[in-house]
């Protein structure tokens, strides 16, 4: 689905069904250097079970035009513009809040900030593979700026659990590390550093979490080296209405490593 936002062409995958703004909406927000395709299975399930799905390509990522947005705050405002543009959770037309935001890593910060800044239409947020704050060390930021292949290799190595590194993909025939690497390589030069710098600079996440007016779900991988489960636990401690799910053995690439478990946790939270 193509949408124009701020004069730029934006793309959102709708889960294999046409988008229907009259249905409760689930927005899937990918992480750094990724695109909508990381949500393939989960987004299809929601689209075929009574939800209007928008698995977005953030600006400058995947099929969306323009430059990547430089801050989590900008990304949050962009999501709000998207919802407004498609009429999802339009409070003028619907009494109840109907939009669920589901974000992974950088996308989880975007979901949090969007619910904080634009609470009117957000019913709930799910934060997957998250940490607040989400510092990115110079060890990774440096190569992300000057040597993207090296940074991609580092991220790929750190994003998969010991089991995921060997494989055993639930999607038949797919090599998880290869697919993750190629997807990152597909993004435009400069996107990776922009995204990681945005995560690193996001400073008031804990305030946003403490002020969160809607329920939140946090899904963590017990072997996540990028966003450690301890950081997720600290975040959960400040949110008023929170549910936490730990996926045993999963790394940071939770949707790829344990797609069914992620879907089941989202279903239990959203449906």
């Amino acid at each position: 689905m193509q949408i124009e936002i701020n004069g730029q062409a934006a793309y959102a995958y709708t889960g294999g069904k046409p988008f229907d703004a009259s249905l409760p909406c689930v927005v899937f927000i990918h992480g750094a250097q990724n695109d909508h395709s990381v949500w393939g299975l989960q987004s299809r399930w929601f689209a075929h079970h009574g939800f209007a799905v928008l698995a977005v390509d953030l600006p400058g990522h995947g099929r969306s035009a323009g430059s990547p947005l430089p801050s989590i705050e900008d990304l949050a405002d962009w999501i709000e513009l998207l919802l407004e543009r498609v009429g999802a959770g339009d409070t003028a037309n619907f009494a109840a809040k109907t939009v669920s935001l589901v974000g992974h890593s950088m996308g989880s910060l975007t979901a949090l900030e969007c619910a904080f800044r634009h609470p009117a239409r957000i019913a709930r947020i799910a934060m997957i593979g998250t940490a607040v704050p989400m510092p990115v060390s110079d060890v990774l930021l440096g190569p992300a700026k000057d040597n993207e292949p090296k940074a991609i290799a580092m991220i790929n190595s750190w994003s998969h659990s010991p089991r995921g590194t060997v494989g055993g993909n639930t999607v038949p025939g797919m090599w998880m590390l290869g697919a993750a690497r190629r997807l990152m390589e597909r993004q435009k030069p400069g996107v990776l550093h922009n995204d990681l710098a945005a995560c690193n600079a996001y400073g008031h996440g804990m305030e946003a979490a403490a002020a969160l007016a809607c329920p939140a779900l946090i899904i963590s991988g017990s072997r996540d080296m990028m966003t450690h489960p301890k950081a997720a636990a600290k975040l959960a401690a400040v949110i008023k209405d929170v549910r936490s799910v730990s996926l045993d053995g999963a790394g940071h690439a939770l949707m790829a490593e344990q797609p069914d478990a992620v879907l089941d946790a989202l279903r239990a939270f959203i449906v």
């Binding site: 995958y13 909508h36 993909n169 025939g173 697919a179 597909r186």
Partner: protein, 427 residues
């Protein structure tokens, strides 16, 4: 952390069985898989959950093999099929239909040549064959309806080394993918995706299996080719009514090709691999690095021996200075240029026959890539109907012998070759 090649050859794609703890890959010799409930069944059919439904489409044993070869090649995924020919057909049928055109190297395995030159035209897909060393010929042959460039990493019979970086660059200039048959080299000798290729297939029957007991093929996707940007592949970029109206490139940024190949090609053409075969091939892949090292070491000794033998008119092996692709082989194949090569006896057909009949260790048969050493004399077998002049035109001398060097003791192999050479000299 990520693992290196030799570790991936043993482990990629398989974690110990969670029910019984089996360390080896279990053989899931079942046609179908029980659904947990109706919702899960519907979700599996609609690609909302991952898993197996029916072994023609996917199977857990096959999936380990697919994942392992994808890991070794540096691709995003793979599909196991009934043979190398089935892999080639699946790739072509996924990419194009009637009215499409392929540009292929003329130095191909006979089965591939037959498919392209005689069979596919009946279905409206035509091929122009070019000298693989002539980049201008590749360029000139590309037409508006061309959808694929194709060659072998090491061509048949002269071991032409495909200049993958240059041919891939040319293909990409025209919005086309390059597919290579990597059977002779295996990912241990070269990983074509690292040089720009987009699709790889293997006859896993050969070196990947290595034992000569199972026929199988593997089709691997590098995941780099941008089907949308090319605009020439509606099978991957437009809704497909045969599968929920799915637009495969929208569905998966990096695996659109594999999705369509599995969801349409395996489903409808049905050239699937048996799980037993997948298990047998996995046993071979586990020792691929060790075997390839030995294949190359033995080949180098055999080549060195034949080059200096008085009964031999010439040896065609890319590591030799006089091979036309010597420099390219040094660049693309630093670990070795395979273990299949041809040499020419000074005598003609009669010498070839005598050579073959005198051998004891080499097996006389029509295959390559076995653990055992193999030999064939084209002029008296695969090409026996051709006159001497026609043979020469095809690049084959009446006294040409093709060897596939195995893993036996190198001294025994050389002694056997000497036995054959002595017999040939008396012909």
């Amino acid at each position: 952390m990520t693992y290196n090649f030799d570790t991936l050859a043993l482990h990629a794609g398989q974690v110990p069985d969670e029910t019984f703890g089996a360390r080896a890959t279990p053989i899931y010799l079942t046609t179908s898989f029980v659904f947990k409930d109706s919702d899960q069944a519907a979700a599996l059919f609609n690609m909302e959950r991952a898993g197996h439904v029916y072994s023609r489409i996917s199977n857990p044993t096959n999936a380990v093999l697919e994942e392992r070869i994808a890991a070794l090649e540096g691709g995003v995924g793979a599909i196991a099929v009934a043979s190398g020919q089935a892999a080639m057909h699946l790739a072509i049928a996924t990419l194009m239909g009637a009215g499409s055109h392929i540009v292929a190297s003329r130095s191909l395995y006979g089965g591939s040549h037959n498919l392209l030159d005689y069979t596919l035209p009946r279905f409206g897909i035509t091929t122009t064959f070019v000298d693989p060393r002539d980049l201008d010929a590749w360029r000139t042959a590309i037409r508006a309806e061309t959808r694929l460039l194709f060659g072998e990493t090491l061509g048949n019979p002269g071991l032409d080394v495909l200049d993958i970086p240059r041919v891939a660059a040319l293909a990409h200039e025209h919005g086309l993918p390059l597919m290579v048959d990597s059977t002779f080299t295996t990912p241990w000798l070269m990983r074509p995706f690292d040089h720009g290729a987009d699709l790889i297939f293997h006859s896993a029957t050969k070196f990947l299996g290595g034992h000569g007991v199972a026929i199988g093929g593997l089709l691997v996707d590098g995941g780099s080719f941008d089907w949308d940007k090319s605009g020439k592949f509606p099978t991957l970029t437009e809704p497909y009514e045969g599968f929920h109206g799915m637009d495969f490139s929208e569905e998966s940024t990096v695996a659109a090709f594999l999705l369509r190949a599995r969801r349409e090609g395996l489903r409808d053409f049905g050239a699937c691999m048996s799980p037993m075969t997948a298990f047998q091939l996995l046993q071979g892949v586990e020792t691929l690095p060790l075997r390839m090292e030995r294949h190359i070491a033995n080949t180098r000794q055999a080549v060195a021996h034949l080059v200096k033998h008085e009964a031999v008119a010439g040896v065609g092996y890319p590591e030799l200075d006089n091979h036309p692709d010597h420099a390219l082989a040094q660049k693309l194949l630093p670990r070795g240029a395979g273990s299949v090569f041809s040499f020419t006896l000074k005598g003609g057909r009669a010498a070839g026959r005598k050579f073959i009949e005198a051998l004891r260790v080499f097996s006389h048969l029509a295959n390559v890539g076995d653990a055992k050493s193999l030999v064939i004399h084209p002029a008296s077998t695969t090409h026996f109907r051709m006159s001497d002049a026609a043979l020469v035109a095809a690049g084959i001398h009446p006294g040409t012998i093709r060897l596939s060097i195995g893993l036996e003791d190198a001294g025994d192999l050389i002694e056997d070759l000497n036995r054959g050479l002595a017999a040939a000299a008396k012909a």
